[in-house]
Symmetry: C2
């Protein structure tokens, strides 16, 4: 299989979030010839929305996604309304940044004010997610901002996202209609026996629902559920195979590197991290 | 919903494996009025097969499952043959113990001699699992020992089991025929949006494929991928709902408590652990 086009590498800013501010990350991308970026809301807030948008535009970077909206389930109307309002602000920010899509991490079981899980009703949470996305879609369509459901690994079903398969995400897209698509993150979906089928199904929409493709690697052993993702090539995911499935389904977009790694990549010189992302994107993805 | 029948509580011996030998666990079950047990091979080997079988029989315990066979994928013929031979021994031991079924943890990606992952071919590993179960089934049928595929949580796909959903297990049962069933472990499958459907599908076989039901709980946060399972009621799984699905599907078997808990239950007085299992089985399962 051919190496991927280096021009399609994008950096999710979480990958060096412990070392650099957003302005530093933008400069780093420019220095390393990385053409895409996917910033997080807290980093944008810290640097200022207008300033961040200007820096990214001036650097000529494509914003492959904005992280993130979602977290729809709540214990009461007040919580649901707060999520709705916050998600509308996220849409506005994504528009200001010129993002290709707003990434949705949809949320898990409803939480109380203290952050504890307040209900075990998983089907109910999934209903709140459907309703929340449905309500947000009107706003997002008016703003011209595509929403991308990111199915998260089932180990996050309780506390981060109760949409855990491509099939579920495709079902939501079928139900809720235009303006909604999917962010395929290899780390979250590589294990799924229906992955190839559901990538093809997502691409069969018009336009294709394949709005983003995120890469990293699954380490064996994995020492932490949240912050032990691997650099491409250091784990067990057959990333060239997944890229081939995305390509055969017509996906021509960026390959966004998103690595949460408290004990390894977050501790390294960020210039080394970016150089490694480039190398491993070419050789192992 | 009614409380479960206390007579259906079974103890998977992993739950107190750090504190007690198998003879001690058998005595503990008798002392606490627990009527079922599911021993592990290493504990049986340490205590002796004949002695273990006699103790369990004398205590009047039902062996709700024998842990475990499986681990089919291998890098070469020699490894596949070794797995086959070891699995046949596991069938023989299960027969000697009078177990209701032999639990299969099917294995993940093939490993090299040093235990490292030797291939990223997940579809290939799944094929080896299918072939390995198919080959073992003839032997198990002759011995009259049902094999129970235990779908493991997707976070174990690489290193423990590449069958990660009830649907996949049902597909294997469809393909491979009689003598094969499923062990439903709440910890592994609670997140699956198709769980109720696939429990019903498993029960529609004749005889039902529902060979075992394991309970514990999913903690938030989960601090370790392997050894941080929760006691029923301490986590987020709606265990009464899952039990109702099993019951509506006609399952009348035991509820087997299986908790790997390095920093909590494995450190407690095992008599306290068994008393808590009984209490939480009644109140939270």
């Amino acid at each position: 299989m051919n190496a991927p086009d280096a021009g399609l590498l994008s950096l999710n800013t979480a990958t060096v979030r412990q070392q650099w501010t957003l302005p530093q990350i933008v400069d780093g991308c420019a220095r390393h010839g990385i053409r895409g970026i996917a910033p997080w809301r807290d980093q944008v807030a810290a640097a200022g929305l207008a300033d961040s948008a200007a820096r990214i535009r001036d650097a000529g970077l494509t914003v492959t996604g904005y992280c993130r909206g979602g977290m729809f389930p709540a214990v009461d109307r007040e919580g649901l309304d707060a999520a709705r309002d916050d998600n509308r602000r996220a849409v506005d920010e994504a528009v200001a940044l010129g993002a290709h899509c707003l990434i949705l991490v949809v949320g898990g079981l409803p939480k109380n004010r203290a952050g504890g899980i307040a209900s075990k009703d998983l089907a109910g949470a999934r209903g709140m997610v459907r309703d929340g996305i449905g309500e947000l879609l009107g706003y997002a369509r008016s703003a011209g901002m595509p929403l991308a459901i990111e199915p998260l690994h089932p180990m996050y079903a309780a506390d981060r996202a109760c949409v855990n398969t491509m099939e579920h995400a495709n079902d939501l897209c079928d139900e809720l209609g235009p303006g909604l698509g999917i962010a395929v993150d290899a780390y979250h979906v590589w294990w799924d026996p229906h992955l190839e089928r559901e990538i093809r199904r997502a691409a069969a929409g018009s336009p294709s629902r394949l709005l983003a493709y995120h890469i990293s690697d699954w380490l064996v052993p994995t020492m932490d559920l949240l912050t032990d993702r691997g650099m491409m090539g250091d784990g067990v995911i057959d990333l060239p195979l997944l890229r081939s499935w995305m390509g055969e389904a017509g996906y021509r977009g960026f390959h966004e590197v998103e690595i949460f790694s408290a004990n390894n990549w977050w501790k390294r010189d960020p210039d080394e991290v970016l150089a490694t992302c480039k190398l491993r994107h070419r050789e192992c993805s």
